[in-house]
Symmetry: C2
Subunit: 336 residues, 2 copies
């Protein structure tokens, strides 16, 4: 792929020879010119609803007998015919959902194998690691250019909100990606259902009030890793990321997390608050202003979720207290 | 840049139109074909030593009157002639050092402006954020392909070792990048000197025993951010990253950090250890096995550095204790 460059400019030879690279984004351009069909983004617009209807029937596990090679092996999978057909159907459905067609569908198989299900030590964990770093970079890059005047601290917060486990789990849940996952987790389906129900209350982001199943976020990352390898093109990877994660959270929609929000309110009004950590005893946090209990939060999942919930409850109670105080002060002011 | 693709394959039009991208790695290929001179990697091999000699004379601050625009403005910088000459000379030296020639040297100015020195709210912090995410992705991608059988946990550790503050600060220090930095930190030069002296003892990595000045790591990241924007090409960015960070730490050379190493030794030999945290009192940590003091660590910088140093000292003392015990057991065994 670099041959043309080198022929035109022999001076860059020593750099190329020391290259040791798999970072060949430019390759794609030549490939596409030679074979426009290899532009792997599916151009047809698919209705998410249609996919959601189809996906309900997909609880049959993907073929387990696949020979996982890294070669471009769309047309010569080494397993029997029935498995092959079923596998192809599932891959095609998933490809329609995410609007990307794989050259090597075996990458997709790896991306959807949970560690609890792994064979030959292959699970999605390596792809997840790769996908996480790519996602992080793509979102940082987009926001860097989209918001040229946003201070670095705000850029960091904005990125976190767009790549955190809840945002990714929402994407997986929206497109029912979990239905394609190989796993042996008995509680997983229940956790996904609970998550789906819980987020109905928070259209964009719960800001830590909902505890997302980490596996949902993992498969979005492993999928991004798989697409980046398969496409070998950051632009193509970005198309899928953008599609999966939209609507991205913008600076205008970026909210403070409940703990920060509560502290800011109290600081502004000269109130001292403290958390009481009862996590070990009963999975709870309490919030006190002076000696008055103003909020309580519980979670069966993570400690931080319980703490966020306590702060969230406290926030509204504190607002109420402040409003009552203001009314009294106002009334007294009028009376005097 | 996408015109050719679209002409050949109109079906991809809707994807392209929704693109909103600054992720145009492929652009580079066409540019290079049209103008081989734009391949921005400097092909001449420069001796690091030569640069180090030159760099001693570079303590003159870079011009402060630059008009920081994002346009390609190599030939029309908006400041006076003397500043212009001095600035060009510094830029050229830095470009030789890092083997990359900027189209827009103003990016380099931003990349080397510490927050303590900022004008018009411009400092290296946004570029640092971008560069950090790019570096993380490039190293993850390289290691993903270089070590196809390395478990994800090991990949994570390997990446951390190659992108952590100490590794980056070593790169900055090796090429004297700090000499190009605009800043108003009175202690900075002293900290850099202290760091340079301290790492002499550890050729590859101190594993937490040395406390690197964070600013040294920051400017490597902001430089990477600047190059990625200027080149708009991940391959080119990778060339510079690879050059700056070599030798990369390989799995064979990846060592455990002192605390883990000490714990593993004790666990294997049935010894219980505990840290005593005296950081608040005197910047120290102590390590005890049974009631015997086996190690002590101090740092004027970070708490974790003191703790690492305590574990490091304890490790050798514990080895000595174990060896003495073995000698006694052996002697008693022979005597009985």
């Amino acid at each position: 792929m670099e041959v043309n460059k080198v022929e035109e400019n022999p001076a860059c030879l020593d750099i190329l020879s020391s290259q040791n690279l798999h970072l060949t984004e430019e390759m794609e351009v030549n490939e596409v010119k030679e074979n426009p069909a290899s532009l792997n983004i599916l151009s047809s617009q698919i209705e998410v609803n249609k996919v959601e209807e189809n996906v309900a029937s997909l609880n049959i596990p993907l073929s387990q007998n696949l020979h996982l090679t890294q070669e471009n092996s769309r047309n010569h999978l080494t397993h029997d015919d029935d498995d092959d057909k079923q596998w192809r159907r599932l891959v095609e459905e998933l490809e329609e959902t995410i609007r990307y067609k794989f050259k090597n569908p075996n990458l997709l198989h790896e991306a959807f194998t949970h560690p609890s299900f792994q064979q030959n030590n292959k699970s999605y964990e390596r792809l997840e690691l790769l996908g996480d770093s790519i996602l992080n970079m793509l979102i940082t890059k987009k926001q860097f250019f989209d918001y040229p005047n946003l201070p670095p601290g705000m850029l960091t917060k904005l990125r976190s909100a767009n790549v955190d486990n809840e945002k990714l789990a929402r994407a997986a849940s929206k497109y029912n990606l979990h239905n394609y996952l190989h796993h042996k987790m008995t509680l997983f389906e229940g956790q996904v259902k609970e998550f789906k129900d819980a987020i109905l209350e928070y259209p964009l982001h719960s800001l830590g009030l909902v505890d997302p199943p980490k596996t949902l976020a993992d498969i979005v990352e492993s999928l991004i890793g798989a697409i980046s390898i398969d496409s070998d093109c950051m632009n193509t990877t970005w198309q899928v990321v953008n599609f999966l994660l939209e609507p991205l959270i913008t600076p205008e929609k970026l909210e403070l997390n409940p703990i920060t929000k509560m502290y800011e309110l109290c600081q502004k009004n000269g109130l001292k608050t403290r958390f009481v950590d009862k996590w070990a005893e009963c999975g709870e946090f309490e919030v006190y202003v002076d000696e008055q209990l103003v909020g309580r939060g519980k979670s069966s999942g993570k400690k931080i979720t319980a703490k966020n919930r306590a702060a969230h409850n406290a926030y509204f109670k504190i607002l109420q207290i402040l409003s009552e105080k203001a009314t009294i002060a106002n009334r007294d002011g009028i009376e005097t």
